[in-house]
């Protein structure tokens, strides 16, 4: 197996799952989407992690 490709696939799934977690926050807070402190911290953590995954994916796929 090409480990570079495997890493790309992992990053894509990981990023998609982070987006899913963000989606669940939207569901939990509908319809106003006013995030409380815990939800805001969680969203920030997910978004930071997502940025890292996307940056890594750029390096993997566009090398």
């Amino acid at each position: 197996m090409n480990l570079v490709s495997k890493r790309s696939a992992d990053l894509i799934f990981s990023a998609t799952y982070l987006l899913t977690d963000l989606r669940m926050i939207l569901r939990e807070t509908a319809p106003g989407h006013e995030l409380d402190e815990r939800q805001r911290a969680e969203a920030a953590r997910l978004l930071e992690n997502l940025e890292r995954q996307v940056n890594s994916l750029k390096q993997e796929m566009l090398r």
Partner: protein
């Protein structure tokens, strides 16, 4: 936004509080969504299918363990996942009912139970619900006696809804099963609204079968469901094939005819599996759901003229109300007629009411947070107030 040609990306649960009576308990968990993303391809769960080549025997992903866990969770002996509760009714009816056989249903039974009986060419015998829309053990006994007189034999099967779809009322399954046992009538508990939302113990209920709906109450994609059986009934319902080709002599191993071999494959099954740990946990907290329902119900009942048609206090979150003397009065003069009501709720981010319905309607608060329940409660009062309806203090 489109997710395919002509297919709008559905964002109902991201943008609205969804109180659709049949959708509330089937909303997916995050893990179910993730599982669907990974297992969306057709035969995705079959990568590691090995002898005896049957879905419920696959170990990777752990489908075999899941089946055992579901049976144990329902306190039954065996379980199979089905493409919806209705396929569970169908399998059981097909096994036990022959042409002309009487089958016990209730006056609140779901239409798919009727269709299952029809498919097996049975004859429906409905236990009438009482004035409070409850099916009682006494009424079941009376109906069985009536059936015996009419058909010369007791019903061959009883399909009884634990919580019915019309009123969301909780019926005494244990009491009805006790009566049915006295006549040797096998009982199927239709837990479409209970399995996955509140605790269900098949042995304590004394039933032969428990059927659940994945997409209605187990945070799972459609179509999905479960058919669980006692050990004695499992031998009958999950019997293996005995057929043999006359030319080829082929046999088909351990495939189960009532399940047409393998039932629930791919994303639906893995979605169910991914939600299962959450579902097991959430049934332990059903009181929270009832509390959220109470918040909304009290608010609705504070609107002059509103009546509840379901049993009250509520024992389930699916609830039927009559607003003929409140919201429907507004509809008679409103420029949008009855559509003003669902429209006003939509504007407030609430989804799930049939557009135009202002007389008798149902809603389900299952899965709302306490904050969302309070929001719903305030929204109903706000719509009433802005349309000139009186609020009881």
């Amino acid at each position: 936004m489109k997710c395919g040609e002509g297919i709008e990306a559905r964002q109902v649960n991201e943008l609205f509080i969804n109180i659709d009576p049949i959708q509330a308990g089937g909303r997916l968990t995050g893990d179910a969504i993730k599982a669907i993303i990974a297992y969306g391809d057709g035969y995705s769960v079959c990568d590691n299918c090995r002898k005896p080549n049957r879905l419920d025997c696959i170990a990777k992903p752990p489908i075999d363990t899941f089946h055992k866990d579901v049976a144990r969770w329902l306190n039954m002996d065996e379980a199979r996942m089905m493409p919806g509760a209705r396929r569970g009714f169908q399998a059981v009816a097909h096994t036990y009912v022959e042409k002309g056989d009487p089958v016990l249903l209730t006056s609140l039974s779901h239409y798919t139970e009727f269709l299952a009986v029809e498919g097996a060419r049975g004859v429906p015998c409905e236990i009438p619900a009482d004035a409070g829309h409850i099916v009682t053990p006494d009424a079941a006994a009376a109906k069985i006696e009536e059936t015996k007189k009419k058909f010369g034999k007791a019903p061959v099967l009883a399909l009884i809804d634990q919580v019915d779809y019309q009123y969301g009322n909780l019926h005494d399954i244990a009491g009805i099963a006790k009566v049915a046992r006295q006549y040797d009538v096998p009982v199927l508990c239709n837990g479409a609204y209970t399995v996955g939302t509140m605790p269900v113990d098949g042995k304590a209920l004394g039933v032969d079968f428990v059927v659940g709906s994945g997409h209605k109450s187990m945070a799972s994609p459609a179509p999905s469901g479960v058919l669980a059986a006692t050990a004695e009934r499992a031998k009958e319902i999950f019997r293996t094939t005995a057929i043999e080709g006359d030319v080829t002599g082929r046999k088909f191993g351990v495939k189960e005819p009532e399940l047409m071999g393998c039932t629930l494959m791919g994303a639906t099954l893995v979605g169910m599996m991914a939600s299962f740990p959450y579902v097991k946990e959430r049934v332990k907290h059903f009181n929270r759901e009832l509390e959220n329902n109470r918040i909304v119900m009290e608010s609705l009942l504070s609107i002059e003229g509103t009546k509840i048609l379901s049993e009250y206090p509520r024992k389930h979150t699916l609830t039927r109300v009559d607003t003929t003397a409140s919201f429907d009065r507004v509809a008679t003069t409103h420029k949008k007629k009855g559509f003003y009501f669902s429209s006003a709720l939509n504007d407030r981010g609430i989804f799930g009411l049939i557009p135009g319905a202002t007389r008798v309607w149902k809603f389900n608060t299952y899965g709302t947070t306490a904050k969302q329940a309070r929001y719903l409660a305030d929204a109903f009062v706000a719509v009433a107030t802005e349309n000139g309806l009186a609020i009881k203090k």
